[in-house]
């Protein structure tokens, strides 16, 4: 069904309709939301990793408080169910066992079915708290840097690269404030391992308009080793990557910018009776009705005349 209103059971309230519209497939999609799930057994390292990556991904992230006993590589139905309920298409599942210590499963879904899953093992982890520097604001769009030939040559690493971009790229933005480019995430592929480093950007003066970039390491530093992968078949991946034919861009009405660059809007009001507006009461400015005025005058003159007569 194309729109929400073409379902067999139509939504009864406007709020329900709006909620369904948000979740329905669209030409221009919402930013992908990630789920952070803990497995049956977790280690301190893994919980800390999940917490910190959740902070990087906020606000487009949901963290599950309870432990969920599931095995993503064996049964994907749990993840698909969670994706359906939370309307999210990325997930990071952390667990710890003797066979797979400090295990992370990074994955994404298409149409609420698992598309790609990569199992990564955390070999070495340095928390954000280990770096005593000033951090960045939540929700900053990071600059991503990928290094290493493996990211181009190896098929699995190529998919992993696409998955990492999808996960960490943040909000889809058309305009970016130049002073706001503060965060850099670096992914390096060496010998089947992926190093993740996070830096804060300091812009220094250079001779020209473009500043000189200096970096300070802030965020979590992870040494990950690629374990198992479950990647989508080529045709499913192609189908998921299909781009829609672009329709006409929507016109924004009633908004203009004047010569000085100020944004002007137009608000359409209904006709108002200005004499009956609810404003502050100022008794002195109260306009008396003419009949009242006349009576008042008469009363005054009458009262003054007899006194005059008397006197």
């Amino acid at each position: 069904m194309a729109t929400v209103m073409q379902r067999i059971v139509k939504p009864k309230t406007q709020a329900a309709k709006r909620a369904l519209d948000v979740r329905s497939p669209k030409l221009e999609e919402n930013d992908k939301v990630a789920m952070f799930i803990k497995g049956g057994h977790t280690s301190e390292t893994i919980t800390q990793v999940l917490k910190e990556l959740y902070l990087l991904k906020k606000p487009n992230a949901i963290t599950f408080k309870r432990k969920n006993i599931m095995r993503p590589f064996d049964d994907q139905s749990s993840i698909e169910f969670f994706s359906q309920k939370n309307d999210s298409s990325l997930f990071l599942f952390g667990s710890h066992s003797k066979k797979r210590p400090n295990n992370l499963v990074l994955g994404r879904l298409y149409d609420h079915h698992v598309l790609d899953m990569v199992e990564l093992g955390v070999v070495h982890f340095r928390s954000m708290q280990d770096f005593p520097t000033e951090k960045i604001a939540m929700g900053t769009k990071p600059c991503l840097v990928f290094e290493g030939e493996a990211f181009e040559q190896d098929h699995e690493h190529r998919r992993l690269k696409s998955l990492l971009i999808d996960f960490f790229r943040g909000v889809k933005a058309n305009n970016v404030r130049l002073q706001g480019l503060e965060h850099v995430l670096q992914f390096t592929a060496i010998d089947g391992k992926v190093m993740v480093m996070s830096y804060k950007v300091l812009l220094k003066k250079s001779g020209s308009r473009t500043p000189r970039v200096e970096l300070t390491e802030i965020g979590p530093a992870l040494d990950l080793e690629v374990r198992r992968t479950r990647l989508a078949s080529d045709d499913l991946y192609k189908k998921a990557c299909k781009k829609p034919k672009k329709g006409k861009p929507r016109k924004v009405k009633n908004v203009k910018t004047d010569v000085f660059g100020a944004k002007m809007g137009r608000v359409h009001m209904e006709r108002q009776d200005f004499s009956k507006l609810q404003t502050r009461k100022m008794k002195g400015l109260k306009r008396q009705a003419p009949s009242n005025k006349e009576n008042a005058k008469k009363a005054k003159t009458e009262s003054s005349e007899p006194t005059a007569e008397e006197s």
Binding site: A2, Q6, C143, L178, L181, R212, V213
Partner: protein, 373 residues
């Protein structure tokens, strides 16, 4: 008295001063340049930049010696270089001022990333819309407010406090030909309900037409005063609704045998698509020539798949002999024809209708049952 210097010496002095000024300027710029670090970066292979995603992909081989030595410093310097290249490119983009901040307009992203949900299908035209398109009937937008004679005011056409509200009538005139004991208010309410039901039926039929599924016709609905055609159709249907499909029902004395009653057969136009006609005629010859029966590929694939799944589930059951929790009966047959591929396509409609129940049911239960829907 001012002593007049010779012109030559004046010129020489000026030239010397200029030379010294130039030297001073050069030295100043040099010192400035050395004060600020360069923004230039040298790379063997140019990194690929995707400015829409603020992405840099560096394919240069990494220096393994440095990695083994001081890993962090080396990675940091690499990151710095790549970020510098990215920023150099970003600063070249056109800027605009948005509320006291200088913003740069990023271009479209070049990395192809998979979508979250499938592309929405185009809205299907309803039967009326098709007809209107054919006839060239334009949609006229009706205004929200209508003049209400009784209230002598503009009232909304529909909704709260609407104009000409029939439900607010406290007296209804009984028309001349109506039964005096009939409840006119009831009659109005029933008529409204019927209109609503009809609208709902039409809406569902439009949807069903879109999904290309066969929808049974409504048949004959009961009416108070059926027309001649309706009576004829009812008679025809009554005759046919016997065990032998009306073969042995006797005809009434003056009854004419009805022609063209029931389903309409659709025929292709006489002079239509020449290509299609040619194809159809040639296909007949192909069918006649084929001695081997044709294989229905989808059916064959489905059969193989069910066999494989049955084997897999029976293996699982043998393995989980101890755990009796997830005992279900014989393995269910998966649907044929419609469910060609697993894991792609065909989930949309069924999934939506039964999403709450289906998904929840699969959540905590056994393994192999989770895939088929």
């Amino acid at each position: 008295m001012v002593a007049l210097f010779p012109l030559k010496s004046v010129i020489i002095i000026i030239i010397i001063i200029m030379a010294t000024v130039e030297d001073v300027l050069e030295s100043v710029t040099q010192s400035q340049a050395s004060k600020y670090k360069t923004i230039e970066v040298q790379k063997d292979i140019e990194p690929q930049l995707d400015l829409g995603n603020l992405l840099t992909v560096d394919q240069n081989p990494l220096d393994l010696k440095k990695l083994r030595g001081d890993k962090e410093a080396y990675l940091k310097s690499q990151a710095r270089d790549n970020t510098q290249l990215l920023f150099n490119a970003i600063w070249k983009l056109p800027t605009e001022r948005v509320e006291e901040a200088i913003c740069v307009k990023l271009p479209e992203t070049t990395t192809v990333l998979p979508r979250e949900k499938p592309i929405p299908k185009a809205k299907l035209q309803t039967k009326w819309e098709q007809y209107a398109l054919l006839k060239g009937i334009q949609k006229r937008k009706k205004g929200r407010m209508v003049w209400d004679e009784e209230a002598k005011d503009w009232r909304p056409r529909w909704g709260y406090k609407r104009a000409n509200d029939e439900t607010k009538d406290w007296v209804i005139e009984v028309p001349g030909n109506a039964d005096p004991n009939e409840d006119q208010f009831e009659k109005r309410m029933k008529a409204k309900k019927e209109r609503v039901a009809k609208n709902e039926l039409q809406r569902l039929r439009n949807i069903a037409r879109g999904t290309k599924s066969k929808v049974p016709g409504v048949g004959l609905t009961p009416t108070e005063k059926p027309s001649k055609e309706e009576v004829g159709l009812a008679l025809h249907l009554a005759k046919k609704s016997t065990a032998s499909l009306g073969k042995f029902t006797e005809k009434l004395p003056k009854e004419k045998e009805a022609k063209h009653v029931g389903k309409k057969r659709k025929f292709e136009p006489a002079i239509g698509d020449f290509k299609k006609e040619k194809e159809q005629q040639l296909n007949i010859i192909n069918v006649m020539e084929n001695k081997k029966p044709k294989m229905d590929i989808t059916k064959a694939v489905n059969r193989v798949m069910t066999e494989v799944d049955q084997e897999a589930s029976s293996d699982d059951r043998r393995k989980r002999a101890g755990k009796v929790k997830n005992r279900r009966g014989p393995p269910r047959k998966k649907g044929s024809g419609g469910f060609g591929k697993k894991g792609s396509g065909g989930f949309g409609k069924k999934g939506k209708a039964g999403k709450g129940k289906g998904a929840k049911g699969m959540g905590g239960k056994g393994k192999g049952k989770g895939k088929g829907r």
